[in-house]
Symmetry: D2
C-alpha cells in the first residue's frame, strides 16, 4: 500500500488521471455479484419474524456487495502515516481530472463514484472532534505564518510587515488544523476588531486600527478592550482543494465567535465584509441582454445620464461602453461616471445577491456560504474595495453578512429548506427596486 | 443531537438496551425503498457504454438505500465535541446488550447491523494516523498514571511504589491515545529491559532489574545501556470495551519496537512473557474426558506416579483429584506433585496453544493476538507466574511469543492464510508429544 | 571546580563540616592586605576634586580586598550546571554545622562570614524574576505531586486519595520553582476555596467542600464559582533549609492572591488558618512561673474550677497537673476540663501571639511571617486543630491571619518600623484581658 | 522602586545621563562611615583567638560600609518583574554615558563604581545555570526569527528567504536566552555544516550547501549526515550592549559543540570563518608610518611592482595611493593589483593578528575572543569576504579559528597566563616573515 502511494506520488498530471480512471473502473463494484445477491433476496413464504432477520442479513450482504473495492483501498491508505493527507491531495487530482478532462460518460460515472467514496470518507475524518482551532500571532511558528500568508486568497498579503499587522493588535487570525496534518492550516480566518461595522476594506487594511478609534488613546502594542464591540470576519480561506464540499468554514466561524465572546464579554456585533466574486460576470451577461433589448436594467434617466458622461449617442452604446469600461479600472477615477453608476449598480448587486439562484441556492458562492451558516445579508457597500481584484469582480462593491448568534440556526434552516434569503430591509428594498425595473 | 446524547447518558442499563433496540429497529434500512430500487435496475437493451454509466449511478443509489439511517445519526454525533468518545461508550452498551440479553432473533439481527455500522465507523476514526504513542514515566501527569494503574489487567498494580517501579529504570510504559480523547489511554503496554528472555514474572515484577544484572554496577536512577539488548512486553491491555474488534495493540507493538530500536540501536531480542488465560479451563475439559475414558492425556507412568503422590487408587480418581486440586493454589507447595506434573502439563499446554483451534484461529485468545501480529511461539515456561490468577488460569505456566522483525509480516500472512502456527522446535516437539498420547 | 563539588558531595556529615570550616578559614579575607590598603588611603592634601575620585578608586580596591576569596569560589560554582542547587544544599550543611557544633569562637565567626556571603549570593539568585509560580493539579507530573506530598509539613498528607483531594475542586495548590531547579518546589502553598473564614481544620481537611456549601448543588468534579468568595491559605511550606532567611513565601502569597482575583473576580476575603507552633512551650514556661507564684495566668474562679475538674487540692497542683495533661492528648475528651480551659487558654494565646516579642518581632514565628507580610491577626479559634500535632503545639488553638490587600503594604511597614501588631478588636481585647491578669 | 523605574524609562538620553550621575554620586559609599569604621579596627592587645573573631566581624562591617547604597537599589530593582532586563538596558545607558560624555574626573570615577557594581550583579545573574540554549529553525516563533535577523551584525540578512536559508538544511542557528527575558536572544550563533573548512564566505552564504557537496545527492529539505564532519561557526553576535564584559559567547560555543557532537557523532572539525574587524585601520597606520619612512612593510620587489600597477613614481606615493584605494572597493576588480597585494597583505594580516597586542591581549577583538576560548589561529584566507564591509575592514581577508576540543582548556590558560597566541605553522611563518621585514 505504501509502495502504491509512493508510485502515485511520482506520477505526472496525466498519468495520475489515468491511474485514477483505472482505479475507478477496475476497483469498482462487481455488477455480477450484486445481481446474484439480488436474486437471493429472502422471500415472504418464511414466517415473518424470521423473514425480518433474514432480510437484515441479506441487506448487510448487499451493503458489502455494492461497496466498491476502492473503499477498502482508501481505508487501508488512511492507516499509513501521512495517509489521510495523501488522500486529500489525491482527491484534488481527482477533482481536476473530473472537471478538466473530456471523459467518456462511463469513465466520468466511475470517477464520480470514486469521488463520492472519497468525499464520504474524508467527511468522516474531518469531523469537528478532530479539528483544532489555533490562534496565530507574531509569536507563532514562522512556517505557519508563511503558509497563512501564501494561502491568503481574498486580500493578498504584500510583505512581512503587512503580515505582522494582520496578526497584531485589533486583529485576530485563527486557523483550523487536523490532528492528521497538524502543520497544515485547513481554513484561515482573519478578524478585525472595532466598534462599528465597516463599509470599506480601507478601514481594515490600511490602518492598524479602525479610523473611528482615536489614535492617541491607543498604545502601540496593545488593545483597549473598551473600544472593541464588533468582530469583522474580513477573510476566510479554505486551503485544501481536496476538501471541497466538506464544510469546515462554518465550524471555524462558530468556534471563533465563541472564543471572541469569551475574550470580550461585551462583544455584540459579528459581521463579515465580504467580496462578491461573480457580480461583474453576471452584470456583463445582463448588459448583453439589455444591449439586445432583451432586458431592462437601468431607468431611462440613468441611461440618459450615462449617455452624457460616457459620451455615446445611444442606449446600446452605453452597454457596449460600460462593458469595455469594466475591463479596466480607470473608470473609478471619473467621478461623474462613478456617481451616476452608484444607484443602479447597488440596486443590481442587491438583485444579484438576493434574487438570483442556481439549483435552489444563491448564485453567488460567498453569499451561499454565509446564508447556509445562518448569516443575514446586511448591507451593500459602494466602493468598498478599490483593489484591482475588487473592481474586476464586483465594481468595488462589498457586502456585510451579519451573524446574530441566537438566530443563526433558525436562519440556516429556513434558507436550506425554503431557499428564502434572510436580508435586511435595505437590501430587500434595493433588490425589489431592481426586480421592478428588470421585469418591466 | 446533543440533547439525544444527554438523554441517553442519563439512562440506566436496561433503558439503554431498550433505546438501542429501538434505534436498531426504527432507524434501520427501508426494505420497501430497497425493493423498489432493485426493480429500477437499468436493463441491457440500452447501448453498453450508457448502460455501464447507468449501472454505476443505480448502484450508487442502491448504496445509499441500503445504508441504514443510523449511519447518518452516528456521523452526526461524531461532529459533537466528545461525540466519538460517546460512540465508543455506546458501543460498549451495545455489545453487552448483544451478549447478555435474551433477544428475539429479529432484534438480535437489527442490533448486529447497528454494531456493524458502528464498528466500521469506529475503525475509520481509530486509524493509525489519529493515534498517538506516548511514553509514560514518573513525570507524566498523575491522572494518567492513575489510569495506567487502574486499567492494568494482566499483573495488577499493588500501590504507588509498585507503579513508580513499573515506569522507572529498566522499564518502559507506552500508551496509545486518540486525538479525540487525548487523556484516555486506549492501550497500555509495559516493557521490561534486560539481557535475556526471562522465564518467570518474578524476575520482572520483584526486582527493579533483572537478576542477571549485577546490582553493584547499576546506579539507582539510571540504566546501563550495555546491559540491555532485550525488550520484554510483559503486559498489554486494551482499555475500551467499546473498541472490541478494532485492532490497536499490534500497531502499538510495532511503533514501540521502532522506538526501542531508536533508543537502543543494539537491541536484538523482542519477546513477550504472556499469560495463557484459557489453559486450565481447557485442561479441565480434557481431564473430564480422560476420566470418562474418552481421551488419553497422561502416560501410564505419569498416571502411576500421580496415584502415589495424590494418594488415590485409580486413574479416574487421579483426574477427579487433580481438578479439585486446581481449584485452589495449595498444590504449588507440594513439591512431589509439582515435579510429577511438570512434564505432562508442559506438554499439554504446548498442545493447547499450538494445536487447538476455533474457527481457524488458535483457541487461546492471547496466542491468537500475537500470532496474528506475526510473532513466533517461542518457549513455554513452567511455574512462571505463581500469582493466584496465574495458577488459576494456567497452572502457573507462561509463554514467550518472540518478535523477529523481518519475519513478522510474512509470519502474520502465513498464519492468517494457512492457519499454520509458527513455533520454535521445542514447542512443536512438546505439542507433537502430547498429540501422540492424546490420539493413542 | 566541578571536581571540588563532586568531592564534597561524596563526603559524610562530619567531613562536610570540616570542609566548610576549612573553607571558611583558609579562603577568608586577607587581613594583612586589608591593613595595607587602609594605610594607603588618599590624604586630604591633594585638591578636592581629585581626592574624591581617588577616594572612590581606593574604596573600590578596599571593597575587593574585604571580599573574601570564597565569594569568588561560590560564583564560580554557580556557573556549573546544577551549581546553584549545589550551593543551596551546601548552605543547609553550613547552617547545621553552625547550629549543632561546639565550635570555637573564631571558627564560628568564620563560618558566619561564609554563611553571610552565601546568603547574599543566594538572595540575589532567588530573586522574584527568576521564580515561577505554578499551579499543581491532579494532571501535574507525578514526581511533582509526590514532592508536594512529602514536603507537606503543616498537615501531613495521608495517602494519594488525600493528596488528590488537596489538589481537587474547591482547592488550589501553588508552588514556587526556580529556573535553576525547575523540578524542585521551593515553597508549597495550599488554598481552600469557600464562602466564609473557617474556624477549624476539620472543615478543610475532612470534606471535599466546606460544610457550609450545600452538597446537592455541587457536581463531583467542578466548582460552583457563586459559592466561592473566600480563599483560605491553610498550609505554606518552605522546602529548602538552605534558603533559610531568604523570603519567598510572601512573594508567593502576593502572586497567588493576584491569580485568585483573576480567576474569581468576586473573591473578597483572603485569610489563613494557621498553626501556633510555640504556644504550649511558652504556656508551660508561664505555668512553671505561676506554680512558683511568680506570675498570674488564671483568675481565681478559673483556678477553683480547675481544682475541681482536675481533682487536685491546691493551685500549684493545678499547674503541675495541667503540664502533665498537655503532654498527652487525652484531656480533649474530658468535656468539663475543655470547657473550663477555653476562656483562659484563648486569652493567654492572644497574649502570646499579640504581646510577646523577641528582638522586636513577635515570639511566634508564623505570626511574625504573616505580620511582616502585612496581614492582620484576625481571629483565634478554639479546638480548631484536634490532630496530635495541633494539640501538642497549641492545645488545638489556631489563628486566622487576614490579608486586606489595600492595607498590606502599610501594615507591613507599620509592623517592621514600630513593632506594632495589627490585630482585630477581639484579639486585642483578649490579649489585654490576659495582660491585666498577668500584671496583677 | 517601580515608580523610579517607570520615571527613568520616560527620560531622554541626556536626562538619563544626569540621572545616572546623580545616582552614582548621591548613592555612593559614605566616606565618613568608612573612615570611622577603620578607626574601630580591633587591636592586637586582646587574646589572639578572640582577636581573629573580632577581626572577622569588623571586616564584615567594613564590607557593608564600603558597599555603596546603589548596590541595594539594584538588587531591589531586580526583584521587580522585568527588573533584570531594566538593569541590562540601564547599563547600556551607563556605558554610553561613560564613553561619550566629557565628564569631570570625579563624576567619571563615580560612574565607574556604579558600572562596576552593576557589572558584578549582572555577571551573577547571567550565570550559566540561568541561560538556556535554543535551536532556531523555520518553525520557531516569527518574532524570534525577526530578532535573529535584525541582530545579525556580521553578515547582514537580506530578506526572509535569506533568513529561511540560514536556519535551513546544512545550517544551525542557536541562541542563548535568560530565564528573566525568555523572548530576547542574548547571543546568536550561526553554524554551517560541511565536510571541509571553507576559505570564503561565498561557499557559506551563496549556496544552500557547500559547493564541495554534490548537488544531486541532496534532497531539498534534508541533510545527508555522511556529508557532514565539519561545523563552521560563521557568525556570533552578542545582542545586549548592557552585557558588555560579561562573557556569554564562549559558553554558547561550548554548549553548541556538545550538541553538535551529540547530533553528529562523527563530527571531527570545529572552526570559525571569522572577520578581522581592525586590520585595515591598523594597516593604514602602518602605511602612514611607512610613507614617513618610519617603518618597512613591503619588500623592495613588492614596492616596485606596486609602483607599476598603481602607476605612481615613488614609494611614498604607493602608500598614499593604497590608502586611497582602500577607501573604496574598486581595487578588487583590478586583477594585477589584487595579485601583487596578496602576498604582503596576507603576511601583514598574520602579523596584525598574531603579533600585535594591547594590554597583553591581541589587538584584534575577535581574535582575542576566540583565543581566550582556547581556539587555534588556523588559516588566513585571501579574498574570503568580498562584501563592502569585508573589503573595508580587512581587504577581504578572513581567518579560521579552529577549536580542538581536548586542547581548548589548556590553550585558553596558556593564552591568558602567558599571552602566547597558539597558531598553526602557516600563520606563525607568515607573521615571522612580516616581522622580519618590519624590523628591518
Amino acid at each position: 500500500m505504501r509502495d502504491m502511494c509512493y508510485y502515485y506520488s511520482q506520477l505526472g498530471t496525466d498519468e495520475r488521471s489515468e491511474f485514477l480512471i483505472h482505479m475507478a473502473t477496475s476497483l469498482s463494484t462487481n455488477h455480477q455479484a450484486v445481481q446474484e445477491l439480488i436474486q437471493q433476496k429472502p422471500q415472504a413464504d418464511t414466517n415473518s419474524v424470521d423473514l425480518d432477520a433474514q432480510l437484515l442479513i441479506w441487506e448487510d450482504r448487499l451493503r458489502h456487495a455494492v461497496q466498491p473495492p476502492h473503499h477498502w483501498v482508501f481505508s487501508q491508505v488512511s492507516r499509513l502515516s501521512g495517509g489521510v493527507k495523501f488522500l486529500v491531495d489525491m482527491r484534488q487530482d481527482l477533482l481536476s481530472t473530473l472537471f478538466s478532462k473530456t471523459l467518456d460518460p462511463s469513465n466520468s460515472a466511475a470517477l464520480k463514484t470514486l469521488d463520492s467514496t472519497l468525499r464520504e470518507l474524508l467527511s468522516l475524518w474531518f469531523t469537528v472532534g478532530l479539528l483544532n482551532v489555533q490562534r496565530i500571532t507574531w509569536e507563532s511558528p514562522c512556517n505557519m505564518l508563511q503558509k497563512v500568508s501564501e494561502y491568503e486568497a481574498v486580500h493578498p498579503v504584500r510583505n512581512w510587515t503587512d503580515l505582522k499587522r494582520r496578526v497584531g493588535p485589533y486583529r485576530r487570525c485563527f486557523i483550523f488544523t487536523h490532528s492528521c496534518m497538524p502543520k497544515e492550516p485547513l481554513v484561515v480566518l482573519h478578524i478585525f476588531l472595532t466598534n462599528e461595522i465597516p463599509d470599506s476594506m480601507a478601514k481594515i487594511l490600511q490602518t492598524s486600527r479602525s479610523s473611528s478609534i482615536d489614535e492617541t488613546s491607543v498604545s502601540k502594542d496593545s488593545e483597549d478592550p473598551s473600544l472593541i464591540n464588533t468582530a469583522i470576519f474580513y477573510s476566510i480561506t479554505s486551503t485544501q482543494k481536496g476538501l471541497q464540499g466538506i464544510e469546515l468554514g462554518n465550524y471555524l466561524i462558530k468556534k471563533v465567535v465563541h472564543e471572541m465572546k469569551a475574550e470580550f464579554p461585551s462583544m455584540s456585533q459579528f459581521s463579515t465584509l465580504s467580496p462578491i466574486p461573480g457580480f461583474v460576470k453576471w452584470l456583463n451577461g445582463m448588459m448583453a441582454r439589455a444591449q439586445r433589448g432583451d432586458a431592462h436594467i437601468f431607468t431611462e434617466t440613468e441611461v440618459n445620464a450615462l449617455q452624457i458622461f460616457l459620451e455615446v449617442d445611444s442606449s446600446p452604446e452605453v452597454y457596449e461602453r460600460l462593458r469595455k469600461l469594466f475591463t479596466t479600472n480607470g473608470w473609478i477615477e471619473e467621478l461623474d461616471v462613478v456617481e451616476t453608476l452608484e444607484a443602479p449598480l447597488m440596486r443590481l448587486c442587491a438583485y444579484y445577491l438576493f434574487t438570483e439562484k442556481r439549483r435552489n441556492y444563491t448564485l453567488d458562492s460567498v453569499a451561499n456560504f454565509h446564508l447556509k451558516n445562518g448569516a443575514v445579508m446586511w448591507r451593500i457597500n459602494w466602493l468598498a474595495d478599490r483593489s484591482p481584484r475588487g473592481l474586476a469582480n464586483s465594481c468595488g462593491i462589498m457586502v456585510n453578512y451579519r451573524y446574530f448568534l441566537e438566530e443563526c440556526e433558525c436562519n440556516s434552516r429556513t434558507y436550506l429548506e425554503t431557499m428564502k434569503v434572510i436580508a435586511s430591509d435595505t437590501v430587500t428594498f434595493l433588490a425589489k427596486a431592481a426586480e421592478d425595473i428588470i421585469k418591466k
